[in-house]
């Protein structure tokens, strides 16, 4: 079964003052560059990249959602139909970690229950300013059944892995039949330009979030 999958998922940007780096993560993944000065995300941004898993070409469509409370209603609509999500917090800001629970609940509530969620502790390059220990992130992930990883959008460390692992996880769930590939609400869709046997998916769901600071 040949497959051309399109997986869609979102990342939410949560903070009002400074981002935890979701947009940077996305930029690093899709464009392989790092732009430290980044305007804050208003609404939802969008990126796509082709990857290959198990010999199959898969197009990942990634939604980068705004993190502010005021955009929550907008971004919620993007949770629906996503197959996976990256929940990002900033390891140098404990407040972003503390808000994870809220965002996670919100995401679970508005998304497909099978959505794969990965917890990301970003800015791992700023070890000296770390406020959230890696162990804490791992513990949180275990407790809520998430995959965990620390990344640095600046040095590109683990960025690739974070997205690809999420995509793999989704792929495995498809193979296991957890996702109904014919239901677009799952965020997975067969590539339109391929043979009929292709299936793909848009999946996406997601939002996640990471930390939260409030103003």
């Amino acid at each position: 079964f040949v497959a051309f999958y399109i997986l869609q998922y979102y990342i939410t940007v949560i903070l009002k003052f400074a981002s935890v780096g979701k947009s940077c993560l996305l930029l690093q993944f899709t464009d392989k560059r790092f732009q430290p000065v980044h305007d804050l995300t208003i609404g939802v941004e969008f990126g796509a990249r082709m990857i290959t898993i198990d010999g199959k070409q898969i197009k990942l469509q990634i939604w980068d959602t705004a993190g502010q409370e005021s955009f929550r209603s907008i971004t919620r609509s993007y949770y629906r139909g996503a197959a996976g999500a990256l929940l990002v917090y900033d390891i140098t800001r404990r407040d972003t970690f503390n808000h994870l629970t809220t965002w996670l609940e919100d995401a679970r509530q508005h998304s497909n229950s099978n959505m794969v969620i990965m917890l990301i502790g970003n800015k791992s390059d700023l070890e000296s300013r770390r406020e959230v220990k890696k162990e804490e992130g791992e513990a949180f992930a275990r407790e809520h059944g998430l995959i965990f990883m620390e990344t640095s959008a600046k040095t590109a460390s683990n960025v690739e892995e974070a997205f690809i692992n999420t995509a793999k996880e989704i792929y495995e769930k498809i193979q296991e039949g957890v996702f109904d590939i014919n239901n677009e609400a799952n965020g997975i869709k067969i590539g339109p330009q391929h043979a009929a046997t292709n299936s793909s998916l848009a999946g996406g769901q997601g939002g996640q979030q990471a930390g939260g600071g409030c103003c």
Partner: protein, 923 residues
Amino acid sequence: MAAFLQWRRFVFFDRETVKDPIENGKNFILPNGISACDSGRGHIVLGDILIWFLTRSLQLSSFQAYKLRVTHLFQLKQHSILVSVGQDEHGINPLVKVWNTDKRDSGSPLCTRIFPAIPGNKPTEVSCLSVHENLNFMAIGFTDGSVVLTKGDITRDRHSKTLTLHEGNSPVTGLAFRQAGKVTHLFVVNLEKVQCYTLSVKEYPRLELDTHGCALRCSALTDPSQDSQFIVAGNECVYLYQPDERGPCFAFDGHKILVHWHRGYLLLLTQDSKSPNNKETSPTEKHVLTIYDLDNKFIAYSAAFDDIIDVLAEWGSFYILTRDGKMFVLQEKDTQTKLEMLFKKNLFVMAINLAKSQHLDKDGLSEIFRQYGDHLYVKGDHDGAIQQYIRTIGKLEPSYVIRKFLDAQRIHNLTAYLQALHRQSLANADHTTLLLNCYTKLKDSSKLEEFIKSSESEVHFDVEIAIKVLRQAGYHSHAVFLAEKHAHHEWYLKIQLEDLKNYQEALRYIGRLPFEQAETNMKHYGKTLMHHVPESTTVLLKKLCTDYHVVPCSVEGAYDLCSSGNLWLQANSEEFIPIFANNPRELHAFLEHMIKVEPFSPQGVYDTLLELRLQDWAHEQDPEKKEVLQRAALSLLRSDNTVFDKALVLCQMHSFKEGVLYLYEKGKLYQQIMHYHMQNEEYSKVVEACKHYGNQEVCLWEQALGYFARKEEDCKAYISEVLQHIDLNNLMPPLLVVQTLAHNSTATLSVIKDYLINKLQRESQQIEEDERKIRQYREETANLRSEIQELRTSAKIFQKTKCTMCNSPLELPSVHFLCGHSFHQHCFESYAESEAECPTCTPENRKVMDMLRAQDQKRDLHDHFNRQLRGSNDGFSVVADYFGRGVFNKLTLITDPPGAKAGPGSLEADLQRDLLIHTKRNV
């Protein structure tokens, strides 16, 4: 909060009110009651009852298109085709008219087609209209939710088909055709949904993109450069759609009234939220026009206007039409002005993005990067600044940047910059030096390594300078690496030897160089190498001097000389000898090897080897070994390859007796040999030497005698032996012998007694002998005299009876001679040579005569005399001999002329002849 969540706001447009061109100072007034408008093809099209064309010079012209009113207008951008919807009669009865504005029909444009817009059989209000630029599709949306699609040439009735596409309850609020390659899509939005039809596929499949819609006029299509996305402005957000999926969304708040996309900008008209309550008081609504740059995420313009009818883009500007008949123009500022505004606010990133999207040239961009860099630099963000400066490489003079960072002691940043410079191959030697210095200052050897090694294919820098710098900084291994890679042998060896002290490696390196270089370098560094790694050095030298082969391909630039002739490849071994100073053992090995493989080695080799062997010999204690060494040295001497003088000096220096003697002998220096023995007081050897060489040089004996004579010791045995020889060979007059021996205080008479006695005896014997001879000669002379006398005075009686010749009895006729011989005449005649002489006596006589004549002749050959005198060891006898030959008195030869009588003086002559004969005998 709303303000905070907005993008940055700029004023990139200048707003002006359009003035009437004819009446100065007065605003231009639009026709009243405009119900539809559009622009394109160089004019703005307005519709009320009439259709108006507004030209750039603000000339208005109009024609009557409908009897009642115009509701929609669509001006194609690539064709002079205008499509309008309007009503000719009351009631719901929309008519579509297609105008060709290029063709005129009695003053108004040519109307090419008229048809009623009715979906199904119920007439409904038209809500929107869109025409594909290829003129093959036209879509009309209705308030009852249906869309009528006209396919085929829309300008003519005959060639087009009409069908109803979409049925729904919600009024259609927006339509847009999207052409991407050969695929045509139609976006349809109503109040509840966003949908997309694919028109290039049969059956026109439909895809629902979203579950919310938008109001009338709140949708648009972006430029193809923006991927021709469909823009839908909901109340909370502005959403973008691809034909098959959702795209990003932007949270632009406010009640949207109008959305347009012109030239890369999103134009959004919203109701002024600040004064919603003023509606009652003010007759006109307040609208806010915001122009967004979605790519660069900023607001290019934002201002409030009174009740805007529409915003149109034409003639390079935006025109805003308001309900009160005014027209405003928004003139975009030029890029430079915009950038300067951004610079003022230090928004460099945005400036860069903007410049890029406006396709600014490289110079311009680099200027921005520089300004950004300067800004960051001033702010103290050196890391950021250098990033920007790096992007100016190629345009900005590097020294500008370098100076800045040098002043600031920001080596780290400087390094990054210089690295980038090198990567782009724009660095000069100074830059390289600086970079390497930076690395070394930073102690960043890994980077250094990377820098050096990364440039596999191309070299961006001056290798020699790099090596120098590295070496100075103590990064020897790096320098060495560079040197090796770029075949700077001199440097390589210098560093390897002087700094790294890695002699083995250096040696190995030399061993891989081409011959000439290997030779030169070996001469240069040989001593050092020999000092530290003698064995390997020797091996290499041996190779170098015999059959040097470059290990193929191991060193860059190595070329194969081997094939071109081995003659070239042998170094002169002599030249390497100095290298071995202080290391005789290796030198020894080397020389031995050389001599073995190369019999025609230079003399220096042999000399040196000899010296070495002699040294060894001299220092060897073990007699057996010494013996071996001695043989070796001698064999070397015998090989005739050494220089005589040098060898002699060497042998003497080392007191190598055998060698010295051998050499003396070879050089025929017999005296030296004897002196040598004398010095060593080896008497028997002295004697032996005399015996050996006495034949060649007689004076040896005399010297030996003198030597022994001077000796205080008892050496009588030797003296007597010497004397014997002297005696035997008659080498010295006895007087001299006695005189010589008189020096010796110890020599007693007994030593010489035998010699003297012997000598005296012989002397006396000689004297006796001589006297006897004298007597004998005297007697003979007397006999002869008497015979002569007799012949003269008395008669001779011939009594012979037999012929002397034939020995038979004499018969007559016969011939008689005074000498007493008688012959038959016939015998005499047949034998005699002359008649006057006796044939029997003639040979004897002639002999004597010849002798006399010869002596006479020789007498005057002085040269010969001299020679004889010098060559003889007894000059006296020579002189005496000559004296005897009559050197001093003329010797006259007397012959008896036939028939002539000897005169009285002839007696004297006879005497002399006798004397002569006697003398001869004596000799």
